[in-house]
């Protein structure tokens, strides 16, 4: 632990710090997905999860395999795909708002048995 702090203050951040942040982000996203009531907040939670994976890729690439670029490329593609997914999801959410005048999850219950 003391080593972690000394590294932190001397300017070099250890890999574990990044991985810890990404793990916290990921599970914050999972928690948000399961508990939030608004479709937009659910979408933001999913973005958190995708970005956590991106941080993982970049960290692993930078610290463990600095001679390769696969992790960086993967991150670029994931960001682009996340943007597509957000666009489609937002379009569907706007459609729901037009039909129901609300984006609360509780209103999406017409097809429960």
């Amino acid at each position: 632990m003391s080593e972690l702090f000394s590294n932190f203050f001397s300017g070099s951040i250890p890999m574990e710090a990044y991985l810890g942040i990404s793990l916290i982000m990921f599970f914050a996203g999972v928690y948000g997905f399961l508990t939030r009531k608004s479709l937009l907040m659910i979408l933001i939670s999913i973005e958190l999860m995708l970005n956590a994976a991106d941080i993982n890729f970049v960290t692993f690439n930078r610290y463990l395999y600095p001679e390769r670029l696969e992790g960086f490329y993967f991150t670029l593609f994931t960001i682009a795909i996340a943007a597509c997914e957000t666009a489609v999801a937002i379009a569907i959410i706007i459609n729901i708002y037009r039909n129901l005048n609300s984006v609360e999850v509780g209103n999406l219950d017409q097809m429960k048995e």
Partner: protein, 473 residues
């Protein structure tokens, strides 16, 4: 760099060609020509199928990122034929006044998802696999929400895209852990680098969620009934057959090719998933009153049976899997074809509405009966043989208890399939569905499906031909 190697990706290139041609045609064609949009699309797509149905030698493109194996031609052709049948069945729906303007989008979205599945099937790298997975699921959400004035469709679309992206973000987190522990995302390198460390096992579990979601096995199935009910019926059939068929193939190849060293870990996982998928889906299917929800649960239990082929991890398992998907395409699309035409004309989807269907629509109810018999696995039809081969593949590896549970469940499934047949043939009704005149494309699609159900089981040459390439990975 030599770009000519990309020309070897013939399936993908010709599909992109068809897509771009249809897009341009849809935008720029004159009023007289636009009437022929759908026939032109059918013909082009049929040409695409015929051009790509002959297996070629294995090759690699882009340093192993794209790997072709002759077995992939079979699964792609099966998916192509299934897509063509779905398009034929959607012909009437897309000729409606309100949908005419959206025809081009429908075709473009369907072909985009198909392209995503091609990439997923042929990927030799987790990056291409992930791109394929997302290309297959994001346009699918747009298709599910296609009917934008219907509340149910929008609701289904939201449920689909949110849960699909939730699953795939868990999956990509798993891929990142695999990358962290091995330093590569190429399948060929991963096979030896994955040795079964705890981190890799956790990464595998994270990763597999994305595929299990697409196959809709039981703990990951909660989206299935709602999305199937809310989407337009032809989209539902596409979702239940084509999307699922590609995902099971990819799951098999990945488990054997990449996670082969983790076989002691993934076999128990699949064992449990198969048992609960088949059992729970069967129990829930019995109490469904809406036929679309009913077929949703039936397709979940069918997915459980496919897991029996995957769990063996052998060449026989691969052959029986492709054969099962082939038969499943015809049986399920026949059932959905009947369902879609009746819903399109009369708006009725409840089980009680089907009472006395035989009196008014003998031919439609006959096709429906064949499809349900085939899904249940009754001997002269193809469904029996596909189930038989799947069980044989699992028995071969010593999964006796699993096969026994699956066999017991076949009896339960027979009960609920017969409920529909009883409603159509035996129950009398005061107000049966009126006589439905089906148009030519629908008739053609139902004839193809019926031929498939009747003949595939009888010609053993088909199974042998698939078995030639055994391990298609």
């Amino acid at each position: 760099m030599d770009y000519s190697s990309f020309l070897q990706m013939r399936e993908e290139l010709s599909l992109i060609g068809v897509m771009i041609f249809l897009l341009i045609f849809d935008i720029f064609a004159s009023k007289n020509l636009i009437k022929y949009f759908q026939p032109i699309a059918f013909v082009l797509f049929a040409v695409h199928i015929i051009l790509n149905c002959v297996p070629r030698d294995a090759f690699e493109v882009a340093g192993g990122m794209f790997q072709y194996h002759p077995m992939q031609t079979y699964i792609k052709t099966i998916l192509n034929v299934g897509t063509l049948i779905v398009l034929l069945q959607a012909h009437k729906f897309l000729n409606n006044e309100e949908n005419k303007i959206k025809r081009g989008e429908f075709y473009f979205l369907i072909f985009s998802t198909l392209l995503g599945m091609y990439l997923m099937i042929s990927s030799g790298n987790f990056l291409l696999f992930f791109i394929g997975l997302e290309t297959a699921s994001i346009p699918m959400a747009a298709l599910v929400a296609f009917d934008k004035y219907k509340n149910n469709a929008a609701e289904a679309g939201a449920k689909y895209i949110l849960s699909a992206v939730f699953a795939s973000s868990i999956s990509v987190f798993g891929i990142s852990l695999i990358y962290g522990s091995t330093g590569t995302v190429y399948f060929s390198d991963l096979a030896t680098l994955i040795t079964g460390t705890p981190l890799q096992i956790m990464a595998f579990v994270f990763f597999a969620v994305g595929l299990f979601f697409k196959i809709s096995l039981v703990p990951f199935h909660l989206w299935t009934p709602d999305v199937y009910e809310g989407a337009q019926t032809n989209i539902t059939s596409y979702l239940s057959v084509i999307s699922k068929g590609s995902a099971v193939f990819v799951l098999f190849t990945l488990l054997v090719k990449v996670f082969g060293n983790l076989i002691d870990q993934w076999q128990p996982i699949l064992w449990g998933l198969a048992v609960i998928s088949i059992t729970i889906a069967n129990i829930f299917a019995i109490r469904q009153k809406n036929l679309k929800r009913f077929l949703a649960f039936s397709s979940i239990s069918q997915a459980g049976y496919i897991i029996l082929a995957i769990i063996s991890g052998t060449a026989i398992g691969m052959t029986s899997l492709v054969y099962y998907v082939l038969v499943y395409v015809f049986s399920n699309l026949a059932a959905f074809g009947v369902l879609s035409v009746i819903e399109e004309r009369t708006g009725k989807v409840a089980l009680d509405d089907y009472n006395g269907l035989y009196q008014t629509n003998p031919r439609l109810s006959f096709v429906m009966m064949l499809a349900l018999f085939s899904l249940a696995g009754i001997p002269p039809f193809a469904g029996f043989f596909s189930k038989f081969f799947v069980f044989a593949a699992a028995i071969d590896q010593g999964f006796y208890v699993l096969v026994f549970i699956a066999l017991l469940n076949t009896i339960i499934s027979l009960y609920y399939y017969l409920l529909v047949i009883k409603a159509m043939f035996l129950t009398k009704s005061e107000t049966p569905i009126e006589l439905i005149k089906s148009d030519f494309p629908l008739k053609l699609s139902l004839v193809i499906c019926t031929m498939g159900i009747m003949l595939i089981g009888l010609f053993s040459a088909i199974y042998n031909q698939i078995a030639v390439f055994g391990f298609g990975i």
